[in-house]
Point group: C2
Chain length 151, copies 2
DNA sequence: ATCGCTGCAAAAATTTTGCAGGTAA
DNA sequence: TTACCTGCAAAATTTTTGCAGCGAT
């Protein structure tokens, strides 16, 4: 089960829309950045920086540049960071106006990833915030299990 | 806000009970292991391996030994690993018969930790499992916000 | 007397940073 | 031209592992 290449989610933005966001913030539109954005656009799953690098056409980009680009895109709100608890960061491109808040169901055998639409704790965040005096509450939630193919 | 030293959770086991579990599995009861268990027993919060080492009485234990001990205790089900998304593993001692399934509310400013008793996704795990054909489902959930003192 | 455990050191793996040169604007 | 960006290399962090010797049983 690879669940990779073609994606189920909509792909609302063209590469030009993405680079436009860079331009709007006076960031330069370079070769590596375009290539990275294109990889993210075509693989709408959480990807590690190494996976992004490996997918890049001619390997014509340094790993350090991928790290720096992901920091930039994360700060610009174009990408969301996910953490599957294995000590490696993963990134997913966000659609227009999307806040990126969703969760995943991850196979512990083959690492297949299914996106989960429902977000249960969302409605209860305010309750938790109020009863503990916290503000600006967010949460991270990921599910783990064994997918049909691996059973 | 440090929320450290004294703990609100019950402390149902004495050190002898913990070492007894080691003995029951033919593991040796050594100085470092007793010291580590005592630290975990007195600080019932998720602790990093470095924090455990620093809290150890005379620093008379190697960091590699802490890592190896936490692997052992995790495999024996005496300790649960938590991941706050900052790339560092944290461990918390489990009480007798406890499965350790609970979540935390973490201050993004000062790292204060509050334990959350309720587990909302638990009831819905089966639904998610069924609709995706997954088995053996678990989840990780942590909340983040700004605590009263840091606001 | 075993066999497991520890300390020390080195290695792995992920991520960050310094710097000199190159490129988009 | 100017400021930003890139590649390369080195460093910083977290975690794992090899190995010789010590220690619990």
């Amino acid at each position: 089960m690879k669940m990779d290449a073609p994606c189920n989610s909509p792909r609302p933005e063209k590469l030009a829309d993405l680079t436009g966001k860079l331009r709007a913030k006076s960031r330069k539109i370079t070769g590596p950045r375009q290539a990275i954005l294109e990889v993210l656009r075509q693989h709408r799953h959480p990807l590690t920086n190494k996976e992004i690098l490996a997918t890049l056409a001619a390997g014509n980009c340094d790993l350090a540049t991928v790290y720096r680009s992901m920091h930039l895109l994360e700060n610009m709100g174009m990408v969301k960071r996910f953490d599957f608890g294995d000590g490696v960061a993963r990134f997913e491109l966000l659609g227009e106006g999307e806040d990126g808040h969703h969760h995943h169901l991850i196979c512990t055998e083959c690492s297949a990833v299914v996106e989960i639409e429902e977000c249960f704790p969302c409605a209860l965040e305010q309750t938790i915030a109020a009863s503990n005096g916290f503000k600006a509450i967010t949460h991270k939630l990921e599910f783990f299990g064994i997918c049909p193919q691996c059973q």
